[in-house]
């Protein structure tokens, strides 16, 4: 398959770009909710609109009422979310949780997917237990209790956890903390007894939760997939999420770069447009190159993932690491080249820097993924 969008995908890109620029723009969404100190950090009305556009259930199978599309398509929406810094549950709900629910029973899918497709429900995914992404270590325990399980432990920095109607929780049902096996995924409803959330606002105005499970009773039918068979599903969720986050990151990078290049063509100093200075031209051109490469590795990885290729695993880490570097460069150069106004809250470039920082951390930063590339390559 050639590495560019086919006609249908190009049409979707047009639609998504127009819609997000109109409805998901910084003024209408990010600043609006931030300035009102919104406890969700995003707008439910937009989520509903995204459902009407057909976005929320893109990755859900057609048999379950979704569109049965792939990661190239989801990535198109994520790219526009990134470019507009649109706060929304799309990545956590429509990519991560939807990927987990693919492996759920008929009952679970019937219980949760219609709400997602309608834009009525929001889901979160709880994996990490520390400040850094360490999916290899899962200590939260789910012990057999009657016909179900009792959940004990804690999860850190669960994005949109406090807004979620259901949280996918990775817990240990056997073995010790660092074991590969012995993981089970649970769909935990928001009103579960003995679950407490402590919400914290992050630098990009998103909201994350620290969740405590103090003997949370779960029915056996809350299990997603098989008991002790959660690692494979978790890996699929992580790969989908990382590729999705990378797609959003390319959008952030493109948005920051375009804004910066425009600024170079408007701002005058020393009687000249600053874009005439070669010192800035070369840095802008270098940045362009890096962002183009990030874009290429993301579409390549999306296609591999949609084709079920084995190399999607390795390439998802290549993509996440490359995007982290490229987007990081885009926002840093963006603020620097904007000069003093780049430091003001009034200008949007700083918002790109904040979002990039949070996105870099999400599901593993460049260091985590470069290390993973080395491990998967055998060194």
């Amino acid at each position: 398959m050639p590495l560019y969008h086919d006609d249908d995908q190009a049409m979707l890109a047009d639609t998504a770009s127009g819609f997000m620029a109109e409805e998901g723009n910084i003024q209408k969404q990010l600043r609006h909710w931030r300035d009102r100190d919104c406890p969700d950090g995003f707008g439910h009305a937009l989520w509903k609109q995204m459902a009407e556009m057909g976005f929320t259930g893109m990755l859900v199978a057609e048999d379950d009422g979704g569109l049965g599309m792939g990661h190239v398509e989801a990535g198109i929406v994520l790219g526009e979310i990134g470019r507009n810094l649109t706060p929304s549950p799309f990545l956590t709900s429509s990519v991560l949780a939807a990927t987990a629910l693919k492996h759920g029973s008929d009952d679970l899918r019937g219980r949760y997917l219609p709400g997602l497709i309608e834009g009525e429900s929001v889901f979160a995914v709880a994996i990490d237990e520390t400040a850094k992404h360490r999916p290899g270590r899962i200590a939260t325990k789910a012990e057999k209790s009657g016909n179900g399980f009792k959940l004990t432990g804690s999860k850190s920095f669960v994005i949109q956890g406090a807004s979620a109607d259901m949280i996918v929780v990775a817990a240990r049902t056997s073995g010790s903390d660092e074991d590969e096996d012995g993981i089970t995924l649970f769909a935990v409803p928001k009103d579960a007894a003995n679950m407490t959330q402590d919400a914290v606002r992050l630098v990009d105005s998103s909201v994350a939760s620290h969740i405590k499970f103090d003997g949370v009773e779960l029915d056996g039918d809350a299990v997603i997939g098989e008991v002790n068979g959660g690692r494979d599903i978790l890996n699929a969720v992580l790969t989908a999420g990382r590729v999705g986050a990378a797609a959003e990151g390319v959008g952030v990078a493109s948005g920051a770069m375009d804004m910066t290049v425009d600024y170079l063509k408007q701002r005058k100093q020393f009687g000249r447009l600053i874009g005439e200075f070669q010192a800035l031209q070369h840095r802008a051109s270098h940045l362009y190159s890096e962002v183009e490469i990030a874009r290429a590795v993301v579409i390549k990885t999306q296609q591999l993932l949609d084709a079920g290729a084995e190399s999607a695993e390795l390439m998802s880490s290549v993509a996440k690491a490359k995007v982290a570097k490229a987007a990081g460069l885009a926002v840093k150069e963006g603020v620097q080249m904007h000069g003093g106004i780049g430091m003001t809250d009034e200008y949007d470039i700083g918002l790109y820097m904040k979002r990039d920082r949070a996105l870099q951390e999400f599901l593993g930063d460049a260091y985590f993924h470069a290390n993973r590339v080395a491990e998967l390559s055998g060194y």
Binding site: P2, H282, Y288, E292, I299, A370
Partner: protein, 397 residues
Amino acid sequence: MSDLESFRAETREWLEANCPQEMREPVRDEEDVYWGGRNATFKSDAQKAWFEACRDKGYTVPAWPKDYGGAGLDPAQAKVLRQEMSRINARPPLSSFGIWMLGPALLHFGTEEQKKHFLGQIARGEIRWCQGYSEPGSGSDLVSLQTFGEDKGDHWVVNGQKVWTSYADECDWIFCLVRTDKTNKYQGITFMLFDMETEGCSTKPIKLISGNSPFCETFFDDVKVPKSYGEGIPAYVGEINRGWDVAKYLLGHEREMISGAGGGDRTSAIGAAMTRHAAKTGDELDPVMRAELAMFDVDALAYGAMGEKFLDEIKVGKAHPAQPNMMKYVGTELNKRRHELMMSAGGSRALEWESEQTSGGKPSRNWLRTKANSIEGGTSEVMLNVISKRILDLPGS
């Protein structure tokens, strides 16, 4: 089975039958590369058999039309062939500036007779071409070139000097930028084709920091170049005085070629191989070096995807016309970094300059050679200028 899938199956079978095992080993040195030409010799029977099989099938230039010695493959088929060759690590059967540079220029600007005449020779590996662009006073500022062809009616008399002419001492013919109008900087250059055996042509190899001499100085002393080689076969490409258009078009191809966008070595990861190699000799790489290798592998694999995307897009006209400059910039900087890391991973052994176990100092000579990557065919700084101007549309550049 789709047409493309059956083409893949046929190709796989053909390669299995025709590509000797020896031709699936990595290229180790210059002798492993077959350049063709009047004075060409084959290093081995396998090299000869592989070249001849490809020549007869049109696979020395698979995407060129059959009339000009190619196989007439469409872009999708050409990609399949590339993938299948790369799958078995098949070496290119014929390397040539005729294929990479002159060919594309003739395909775009040449007359029908020129194409039939010159392209066929190139495809069959009969004539080895070199490129006369740079001059001592005209490097990055190529258009200031001074080599002059004085109009004598049915021929020109060419005087001047070229530099960095790749393998000029081993080549048969040259495609050469010659000033034919001193009053017009951009529209006063002609893209000439002539035989290097013509009286007045001489070459002198330049010894480089790698100790090798892949480049020459080339001198023209009253060289008589006819304006035509027969009916419909002018001795120049495009129009007289409009050679700069051809040169600019070709620079795109040259940059694409130097960028390594086609894959192969330039886009592969090195961390695992470097670590294994060190372990074999009882060494262990430092953790910080492992981190650098991992970061490099991320960049190399991502660049591989960029190369694939670039080639896919260029075939359907989706790529920005100035994108080869970006590819050249990134590809060459990456290749320099690759060789810096390989030198570090190799330790003192990589410093050996003449030893047998380094095949005559391969690691260090190759490392030094890569320093030219970001200079030849337009420096990295010139590439960045072009991106600024033509892609980002920045002012005043």
